[in-house]
């Protein structure tokens, strides 16, 4: 039963300035830097070395681990280095740097896969390098194969796109409606799930209309109340089905499989062409950007070159966010590359990037009302700051926080609860309960 809403949440200004701008394609960058970890799970080992010639779509990183996804070259050219680079979040990751030769020769390995069974479908998805394109970057072949003992009856397609600024999924809905439907049908066919529901916020009427016209049979479109974080997996499942994913469990445990709308469209394209995941549509926006727009970018392109393609800056960028302003990751360098799950690059000017001063919590309860997980962010903040991990985990359910940022957004004292909660989760992971 669709409820169309969830409890809590906030209404940040939508800033969907780029919604009506058709996707532009960016040309070849001067170099690409492709990290060997662009997913949740085990890192890939580089399969090329310095001086090697590579072609578009060629595997350059892979691993035997199950929860992982191979990495492909997005250009043809020469490998100029295989080195460890520190990415944002202070993660040292092996990266393959390639200088394009400008020919964009396609690798011989790129060919439409032959699908005869669920197994061949899943191995094709793995070979495509697909990870969740909504942002979480979970390997798709793992997600599409729910653990034994779970009964999945609903495929949920996430087109909510609740983060401010971002319109890349919206453009997918507008520009590739048929591709989305084909992708959904493939997933339904090979996973044996009986029905699919596309969840989309009601602030995108044109996309709802297009999707509804194209949807038929097992596929339906449900318009949801626009409120952040509508597109978070748990709140989306709740709004569409009324089911709550049990604490600490997977969506499959509540009978749902959630995929991003661009991810399913990619599946359709991959099954047709065999071209793995080497490019991504991203929204470029923010107060420091001269010409906000949607751009199709090769994975590994340095952030600075993407901004240059968009006419550069109108103000000095003070903060650059990969992803949306609510959950995106601020970058420490513009040399860092675009990743598989990048859906936006937001550059903020000095005024918007300024961090507000924290003041004392007045216990107003705005964070409690905003929390979609029904937690007490102020108490979590206090417990973690006091080093009281027992209360933080046992009493206030630290690990149930989805880090959506609603509490911090709503806080009049400008307290950084999510930062403290992240710190608390890190402490909890390092000291597992006996």
């Amino acid at each position: 039963m669709a409820l169309h809403v969830f409890k809590g949440g906030v209404h940040p200004p939508q800033q969907k300035n780029t919604a009506e701008m058709a996707t532009k394609t960016m040309g070849l960058p001067t170099k690409v830097v492709i990290p060997m970890v662009q997913h949740l799970g085990a890192p890939c080992q580089p399969k090329v070395s310095k001086g090697d010639m590579v072609k578009v779509g060629q595997v350059i990183g892979d691993t035997d681990a199950y929860v992982s996804a191979p990495i492909h070259s997005s250009v043809s050219g020469t490998v100029t280095g295989v080195d460890q680079i520190v990415l944002s979040g202070n993660r040292p990751v092996m990266c393959v740097e390639i200088k394009p030769d400008g020919l964009q020769e396609i690798s011989e390995t790129v060919a439409p896969p032959v699908i005869e069974s669920k197994e061949s479908f899943l191995s094709a998805i793995r070979a495509s390098g697909l990870t969740g394109l909504g942002g979480a970057a979970f390997p798709a072949h793992v997600k599409l194969n729910p653990p034994k003992g779970t009964q999945v009856d609903t495929l949920i397609i996430n087109a909510a796109e609740c983060e401010p600024y971002i319109t890349s999924d919206y453009r997918e809905c507008m520009e590739n409606t048929q591709g989305i439907m084909e992708g959904i049908k493939h997933v339904l066919k090979w996973t044996g799930i009986s029905k699919a529901v596309i969840g989309i916020e009601d602030n995108k009427p044109d996309a709802i209309k297009k999707l509804t016209q194209a949807a038929s049979g097992q596929i339906s479109v449900v318009s949801l109340h626009a409120r952040y974080p509508q597109g978070a997996e748990k709140t989306l499942i709740y709004a569409l089905t009324g089911r709550q994913v049990p604490s600490g469990k997977l969506p499959a445990d509540s009978g749902c499989l959630v995929m991003n709308v661009t991810s399913v469209a990619f599946i359709a394209a991959y099954l047709k062409t065999g071209m793995p995941l080497i490019k991504k549509r991203i929204t470029i926006d923010g107060s420091a950007v001269k010409c906000p727009q949607n751009v199709e970018v090769l994975i590994g392109t340095p952030i600075s070159e993407v901004f240059d393609f968009c006419g550069g800056y109108k103000e000095i960028p003070e903060k650059v966010i990969m992803g949306g302003p609510m959950m995106g990751v601020s970058q420490f360098s513009l040399d860092l590359p675009v990743l598989k799950n990048t859906n936006a690059l937001i550059a903020l000017d000095e005024k918007e990037a300024k961090l507000p001063q924290e003041s004392a919590c007045i216990r107003c309860g705005r964070c409690v009302k905003a929390c979609p997980m029904s937690l007490l962010p102020l108490e979590l903040d206090r417990a973690v700051r006091a080093g009281n991990m027992e209360d933080a985990q046992g009493k206030y359910h630290l690990l149930d926080c989805i880090e959506c940022g609603c509490c911090v957004y709503a806080c009049p004292a400008k307290r950084r609860m999510v930062q403290t909660i992240r710190l608390g989760k890190d402490i909890a992971r390092r000291n597992p309960k006996k």
Binding site: P12, P246, S254, S330, L334, L376, D400, V408, Y409
Partner: protein
């Protein structure tokens, strides 16, 4: 790119809610009640308001900046709100030095000694009023009649009249504030206007004031003077400090519970205690002590009303 980028934990945008804006809204919402107090009780009421606000701000600065050497919290306006609320809870004839003692007690003893904004365990203005009632009883219960000349007629409050068998004022006078009482508590209509402003601005939510007032109304109707169900709810709702207490004091963020369930327990508790104090104790009025009692109970209520987390059972 030469310039350094700002790196911080998400979210990267904030709403424009701010502590000082909330406090300013409370001050704005108290303007009608303050004006009504000055209108009915004259310049002495104005003097009490000015003295309380300036001395609260002064004590805040003194204790934070000069004694504790911490940041100056005067701009967050919380001390100004405490000063105004304290003034509105004092009789118009109160000697100004007592108002200053009350301000000291509110800001230094109740607020800063316990850790400052957000750490006080009872509402500072109400705590100070309770202290002054004990320390300076007669002066705290010497009620000036509206429009009285200096040193002239004193008047019993409606609740005192009820207790001592005097004549009760008519409802219209109680609504407007043409009765004896504290500076800011007599004009129900001015307080309701201020309360609605706070509700519209979403500074407070409806639960505490509505449930509190409804509980008082219901309780007073059930336990009427002529037996069950003979009470006059309107009288009890409009009398004393209920409107001021329900909209402006019981809703104090720091000393009221967090969860929806906790708020209901708290508001019903305030209502029941108010009526118990009014009907069955020597005190004519019970709002202040009822709220103080529930303030103290708030940590306990919070402990037993932690909301059920999403995915924590029941709906699965």
């Amino acid at each position: 790119m030469e310039n350094k980028l700002t790196v911080s934990s998400s979210p990267h945008i904030r709403s424009n809610a701010a502590t000082h804006k909330l406090m300013l809204d409370v001050i704005i919402a108290l303007i009608p009640a303050s004006l009504a107090g000055i209108y009915f009780f004259g310049v002495s009421a104005l003097a009490v308001i000015v003295v309380c606000m300036t001395s609260c701000i002064g004590f805040e600065y003194l204790s934070r900046v000069i004694l504790l050497k911490r940041n100056n919290t005067v701009p967050d306006l919380s001390a100004a709100v405490t000063g105004l609320l304290l003034a509105l809870n004092l009789p118009p004839s109160i000697p100004l030095w007592i108002a200053i003692v009350g301000s000291f007690f509110a800001i230094v003893v109740i607020k800063q000694l316990f850790g400052g904004l957000g750490q006080n365990f009872i509402n500072p203005a109400l705590g100070a009023r309770a202290f002054l009632l004990i320390a300076y009883g007669p002066r705290m219960t010497n009620w000036t009649a509206p429009f009285a000349q200096v040193d002239a007629v004193s008047a019993a409050t409606p609740l005192a009249a009820l207790k001592e068998g005097g004549t009760l004022p008519n409802i219209m006078d109680m609504l407007l504030g043409n009765i004896g009482g504290c500076i800011g508590e007599t004009s129900a209509i001015a307080l309701i206007i201020g309360g609605i402003y706070l509700l519209v601005r979403r500074v407070i939510s409806w639960e505490i004031p509505v449930i509190y007032i409804a509980t008082v109304g219901l309780f007073s109707w059930i336990l009427g003077p002529e037996g069950l169900l003979t009470g006059n709810p309107l009288f009890h709702v409009l009398a004393g400090g209920l409107m001021l207490g329900a909209f402006f004091m019981a809703t104090d963020y720091t000393t009221s519970p967090m969860s929806g369930k906790g708020i209901i327990i708290y508001a019903v508790g305030c209502g029941i205690l108010t009526m118990l104090f009014r009907l069955y104790t020597n005190m004519p009025e019970g709002v202040s002590f009822a709220i103080l009692f529930m303030n103290v109970a708030t940590p306990l209520i919070d402990r037993y009303t932690v909301p059920k987390r999403f995915g924590g059972g029941a709906h699965v």
